[in-house]
């Protein structure tokens, strides 16, 4: 048996050498984490509970995730409007219309209409706060430096950790530290003191559950994490469960479900492109790849990201080729993310398939170890979102 394959290398193909370390690495080790390389960082893939129980705990109570590997960036200009306008040249999202202390999902696009990375954007009054993926951090920063005018300054926040508290009890737990969190709605952002530290808190996450993301000064991060973990409702949760949670929630993982060749329309992310940036909108286009993306918004895309439910018990992993028939023919698509859904209790997957085969209920076949096994196109998400709107 190939035990060496099990340590999480499947998530990303890094080696253990020259890895970056999270500020809370010692705490993870103390908590019994198994550390694996991911996006250039040594990251906790799971703790003592294991992926299955960590996943279920997050859906039932509250899970604490260390996502400090993600990039935190502050953009400043003459005022928020100036920064928003500049950033809209890189991101096909209504950033100018984002309310004060509101957050929004978006993505950088390229000239071919593909996605360079997905990100979170927040209007913080005098600046725009951006959270980007670890694996794309350097490229995103270079892209912003090159694409933003000289009067917009970019500050990479290096002195803050990023924690996520996710799950139906996250509000109750965090309210024990600062009651103001109860007043926050999904995608609200606020400056809050937590355990004596000045934190930037957003009511968001990437698990499909209600929850918060907390940007906390590095020197206060361990005390905050320990305080949260003393609560019996909170467990430390690793990358393994983070991946199965976001997969069940139908959320894209950059480099897997979306990439530089995948357009937002193909990816099923059209909802993130507001009317004002579309054809006929007041600020129509004006972002990289607008020709392709606007055309696809009108005419549809040749491929679509779909939910996939394998009929049998065998998980269908990333890369599995999808066919329209049990025998013969060329592939009509492939799995982009797949595994076992602990809440669903069965294998779950997402894939990119040709438009003609993307209708809900379509029967496809996944090539698993040379055998074509039935898999049905289903609606996303697999588990209903539990946000506090």
């Amino acid at each position: 048996m190939i035990v060496s394959e099990l340590s999480g290398r499947r998530i990303e193909g890094d080696t253990m050498s020259e890895l970056l370390h999270l500020p809370l690495e010692a705490l993870h080790t103390e908590l019994g984490a198994r550390m694996v390389p991911f996006a250039g960082y040594s990251m906790p893939v799971q703790y003592g509970l294991g992926v299955m129980k960590e996943h279920q705990h997050t859906r039932a109570a509250a899970g604490l995730f260390d996502v400090s590997h993600m990039g935190q960036v502050i953009l400043r200009g003459a005022d928020y409007a100036a920064v928003a306008q500049a950033m809209e040249a890189l991101v096909p999202v209504d950033i100018a219309g984002l309310g004060l202390n509101r957050q929004r999902y978006g993505f950088f696009t390229n000239d071919a209409g593909g996605i360079e990375d997905d990100l979170m954007l927040a209007n913080r009054g005098d600046h725009l706060f951006v959270v980007i993926n670890a694996a794309c951090k350097d490229a995103d920063i270079a892209l912003m430096r090159a694409g933003l005018p000289a009067d917009v300054t970019l500050e990479v926040v290096e002195d803050r950790a990023l924690l996520a508290l996710q799950g139906p009890l996250a509000e109750d737990v965090l309210a024990g530290l600062n009651d103001h969190v109860r007043a926050m709605r999904f995608m609200d952002v606020a400056d809050l003191v937590l355990e004596g530290a000045d934190c930037w808190v957003s009511r968001s996450g990437y698990t499909g559950e209600d929850g918060f993301e907390i940007s906390v000064p590095v020197d206060a991060a361990e005390a905050l994490a320990r305080r949260l973990l003393t609560d019996a409702r909170v467990e430390a949760i690793g990358l393994g469960a983070r991946d199965s949670l976001r997969l069940e929630a139908g959320l894209c993982l950059y480099g897997h479900d979306i990439d530089a060749a995948t357009s937002p329309v193909e990816a099923g992310l059209s909802w993130a492109i507001q009317k004002v940036r579309r054809t006929g909108g007041a600020r129509e286009g004006g972002f990289p790849g607008a020709a392709r993306i606007l055309a696809e918004l009108t005419d549809g895309a040749p491929r679509a990201r779909v939910g996939l439910s394998p009929e049998g018990r065998a998980p269908m992993r990333e890369g599995v080729a999808l066919y329209a028939a049990a025998e013969g023919g060329d592939p009509v698509g492939h799995i982009t993310s797949g595994g076992f859904g602990p809440t669903v209790g069965a294998p779950v997957a997402m894939g990119m398939v040709a438009r003609d085969h993307a209708a809900r209920g379509t029967q496809l076949y996944g090539d698993v170890r040379g055998k074509r096994l039935p898999v049905a196109v289903v609606a996303l998400p697999f588990t209903p979102a539990n946000f506090k709107r």
């Binding site: 035990v3 099990l6 299955m52």
Partner: protein, 119 residues
Amino acid sequence: MKYTEDHEWLRVEGDVVVVGITEHASTQLGDVVFVELPEVGTMVAAGDEIVVIESVKAASDIAAPLDGEIVEINEAIVDEPSKVNEDPLGAAWFFKMKIDDLSALDQFMDEDEYKELVD
């Protein structure tokens, strides 16, 4: 009990060899969610990948430790893969195989040698 470098255990039961995976392997794998076993009657060669085992995170193969014939498989772990995590050394055996010469087991590690490997 004998152990392979691939973290299988082998136990002689009459004239057949029972094969499973070690506690160490089951822990490393994490929560097992799928097991595919060979068919009874299959003739296998040492090194053939004959079992697929999938945990929440990853897929792995288990190779036949020796040349021989598969004479029995454990359907219980196909129906309930989590047994592999609960009782890897007992109820969650994988398959039984008939081999020509039981002395072939001498090439594998004993318990002390295996412990040294995984510690």
